[in-house]
């Protein structure tokens, strides 16, 4: 299935900004984070289709997955 993966802040370094990538059914955000070599402890926010998601949520065809490190501001 096709998933759009978007990376932010320093997660983009030596990776990519956004890509449509092919995954097997039942793939989770946690699987993709591991595949990208990102330490799960560094994840601040993970969103599927602009809603906060857990690492073990099953992704669906054409979902948009956004992965951010721990971020603040204001």
């Amino acid at each position: 299935m096709k998933i759009t993966v978007k990376l932010f802040a320093y997660f983009r370094d030596n990776r990519f900004v956004a890509e449509v990538r092919d995954y097997l059914p039942e793939t989770t955000p946690g699987d993709i984070i591991d595949e990208l070599g990102i330490d799960r402890d560094e994840i601040g926010i993970c969103m599927i289709n602009s809603r906060h998601a857990r690492f073990d949520t099953a992704l669906q065809e054409h979902d948009i997955l956004a992965i951010f490190p721990v971020i603040g501001g204001g």
């Binding site: 932010f8 602009s50 603040g72």
Partner: protein, 575 residues
């Protein structure tokens, strides 16, 4: 040396240095400015008349070596909201005031003549002098001229031409260690200073230092506190991308107010993001990381250079970039930087002014996305005080009224910042209830709603939001009293070592034995003092509401509205 209250009466140009009343002794920063305004300002007075007072107070820890403790609180009755106002800023002034032994500086009265004045404060003197040369000048020129005049280093608080013209969005500018500007941005405090005919204040502490009651305990506590801040991952992204790291997060969450609050996502988000800003700063030899006051270990400020690698602006914040960017649909970071520079120099709040321009764009005054046009409005209309410039310079509510626009994102007439309350519902409660009017810093529910800091609360649901906003507003009122930057809260919310170390710092500074409960009670009492002032000024719970369109116009992409009942909003005050 005991701390003193420094007072200036602008009606007869007299000054005094007074003992600190016992009731004020335990206060600093926001707690002190609000306590003094509540005690000495007639709540029904005209904010620009002789009965209003402008109060400055360094925080309880300002002037010490405690990490990130250099925030300056300024307070008065706000001309914009008609209620009490506290707005805080970095820069050097808080640390120098504290080192002068100045617990608070109170500016009262109003000159009968048309002359302009300056105030000079040292550890044992405060004088008023007529000023002619710098009247009508921009903040950058004032800061530069005063740095040249002083023998040693001095701190400067100044107003630009917007403050001189008493525009309700006018801010106070505080010089930072590099001669750049930080702002007490919100609520029109620059207009209050302009109404007092006071162009600038200089503060020179000489060699004076703070005496700490228990130096060893202080050192130990500061080590633990600084470690907690430095090790916090939020501090690390702040030092790289600045607060502007938020553009892409808030956009992704569908909560980035766009095109005068009609959309929750902006197509040009990546062009104005913290990631893009970092690349531009590096490419042009700017500084991605910079401290707004000496001793800050977070360093979220930055120096942004233009295409020719010359200085353009400093302290280029998320809210400023959002307001001129997404809210006005301007996707060119250089146009936004130019607008930011102009607003800093004219001395006008970037949030209020840019939101006002967004409303003006909806009114057809210029096209959404017209960055150069927005800069022209700021420079040639606001900066020159034309009738149109004054309409915009009086804020978003003023523009809405002048052009018959009903989608005007304000609470208590103050512009709502960069988090749409339909998609970050914790912020709906904060905007509605804070005594400050539309203000994100008062109770930053974005933490648990979006950022996953201090827990997780669904941003699109009402559940848990009132309690979240209440707890954050109480904690914020207390932190704003310490002189600490509010960003210490990111560490305090998730690191159990942080808050106890902060309380240890206060105890060691003053020889006290405060507990966490004392700090919570301080926050509660500040909020209640501020609310009582507002009620006496004529604001009531009908003013604790959001504009109608937030309840009736669903915000894409989530298509949610604000759905708190009036009773639910009012229950915020049950503490």
């Amino acid at each position: 040396m005991a701390d003193k209250i420094f007072r200036v009466n602008m009606s007869d140009l007299t000054t005094s240095i007074e003992a600190v009343p016992e009731a004020w002794a335990g206060h600093g920063g926001r707690g002190l400015t609000s306590t003094i305004v509540a005690a000495e300002v007639e709540p029904t007075c005209h904010p620009l008349g002789p009965l209003n007072k402008l109060v400055f107070a360094p925080g309880l820890l300002s002037g010490t070596v405690a990490a990130s403790s250099g925030r300056l609180s300024a307070g008065a009755k706000s001309p914009l909201t008609g209620g009490i106002k506290e707005s805080n800023a970095g820069g050097t002034a808080a640390q120098y005031l504290a080192r002068c032994g100045c617990k608070a500086l109170i500016i009262e009265g109003q000159p009968a003549d048309d002359k302009w004045y300056s105030v000079a404060l040292t550890a044992d003197s405060i004088t008023v002098t007529e000023e002619t040369e710098l009247v009508g000048k921009g903040n950058y020129e004032v800061a530069k001229a005063l740095s040249g005049r002083a023998e040693g280093k001095c701190a400067v608080i100044t107003i630009g031409v917007a403050g001189e013209m008493k525009m309700m969005a006018a801010n106070l500018s505080v010089m930072d260690p590099d001669g750049n500007l930080r702002s007490n941005g919100r609520g029109g405090l620059g207009a209050v200073m302009g109404a007092k005919k006071l162009k600038y204040i200089t503060i020179d502490p000489g060699d004076n230092k703070i005496e700490v009651a228990k130096p060893e305990d202080f050192k130990t506590a500061n080590r633990a506190f600084a470690k907690s801040l430095v090790n916090n991952p939020v501090s690390q992204t702040l030092a790289t991308y600045g607060t502007n790291a938020l553009v892409n997060v808030i956009n992704e969450a569908g909560a980035l107010p766009t095109k005068n609050f009609t959309l929750g996502q902006f197509d040009g988000h990546d062009k104005i993001s913290g990631e893009t800003m970092y690349d531009i700063i590096q490419e042009r030899g700017g500084k991605p990381k910079h401290n707004c006051h000496a001793g800050c270990v977070i360093q979220c400020s930055q120096i942004y250079n233009d295409k020719d690698k010359n200085f353009k602006t400093a302290g280029f914040e998320y809210e400023s970039i959002w307001a001129m960017g997404a809210d006005c649909c301007v996707d060119n970071l250089d146009d936004i930087a130019e607008a930011d520079y102009l607003m800093d120099d004219i001395g006008i709040d970037t949030i209020e002014t840019s939101v006002a321009i967004g409303v003006a764009m909806e009114a057809g005054l210029l096209e959404f996305g017209d960055g150069p046009g927005a800069c022209r409005l700021i420079r040639d209309e606001i900066g020159k005080g034309t009738p149109l410039g004054r309409i915009i310079g009086n804020g978003a509510g003023s523009v809405g009224a002048a052009f018959g626009i009903t989608r005007v994102p304000v609470v208590k007439n103050q512009a709502i910042p960069a988090y749409d309350p339909r998609a970050v519902k914790g912020m709906a409660i904060t905007y509605a209830t804070t005594p400050m009017g539309g203000d994100h810093t008062a109770g930053y529910a974005v933490t648990a709603n979006i950022l996953g800091v201090g827990g997780n609360v669904d941003p699109l649901s009402k559940d848990g939001q009132i309690e979240l906003s209440r707890n954050l507003q109480i904690a914020t009122a207390a932190i704003d009293s310490t002189g600490m930057c509010l960003f210490v809260a990111f560490a305090a919310l998730d690191d159990a070592e942080c808050l106890p170390a902060l309380i240890d710092l206060i105890n060691a500074r003053y020889g006290l034995s405060l507990t966490g409960d004392d700090v919570t009670n301080l926050g509660k009492s500040i909020l209640k003092t501020e609310r009582a002032f507002n009620q006496a000024a004529g604001l009531n719970n009908a003013d604790d509401r959001l504009p109608e369109f937030f309840y009736s116009e669903p915000l894409p992409p989530h298509n949610t509205v604000v759905d708190f009942t009036p009773e639910e909003i009012d229950s915020f005050w049950n503490f």
